[in-house]
Amino acid sequence: MSRLMLLMPLVLVAGCAAPRAVEPLLETGERVMVEEAERLEVDGGREARWLAQSRELLEEAYERDLLERGELEAEWVMQATRGYIAAREALLRHELDLERQRDRRRENLLEAAEAVARARELLARQGELWPEKWDVRRLWRRE
């Protein structure tokens, strides 16, 4: 993401430069955004493994408490079960939050990448859309 943060101002500043200089920057920007979006999948996999491990730890701890307890009074079992269920629910909510955040970031990145791709396409077709006689840069060229 830090690469992206550095790249965006560069792309914006480059907006004032000649199209030839902008094109590679836009291309890099688009590629970085797509890569970032793909990296989110990797992050998602890592988070899923961490969540699965947390669930296993909870289950093991619940079972260990049951095994280590000499007498299983009904109230104690109910307390343990409530705590275990609450912890599982908290994990599930956290998982859903992470998924939502990841989806939002992916959407934003892909939309930004699409916008850059369109900008590149426009630049490529600039000659057709912007006749040479309207191009103010020719004034500088004449000098």
Partner: protein
């Protein structure tokens, strides 16, 4: 309750109530207490409270009535009830 300040206040309130119940609970369930992330448990309690109709009604009353103290007491009772439901 809305806004960051209120959210923080609610979280602090829930955290304090959870803390009161926690040490006793953790003594009875040491392994599970070690495996539970209390920050997420606090978040869960805050979310349950926000969805709780009695809690919401108490907050609405506090906003329109002069009997704010009674409503506040009701809110505290509700926080305790939610925390108890998580552990006890």
């Amino acid at each position: 309750m809305s806004g960051t300040g209120s959210t923080r206040a609610l979280r602090d309130l829930v955290e304090a109530r959870l803390e009161q119940s926690w040490s006793q609970w953790a003594q009875a369930h040491p392994n599970l207490a070690e495996a539970i992330d209390r920050m997420r448990l606090t978040e869960l309690a805050v979310n349950r409270l926000r969805d709780d109709p009695v809690y919401r009604e108490a907050l609405e009353q506090a906003a329109v009535d002069e009997a704010q103290l009674a409503a506040a007491a009701k809110v505290l009772q509700r926080v305790q009830a939610i925390v108890d439901a998580l552990l006890n």
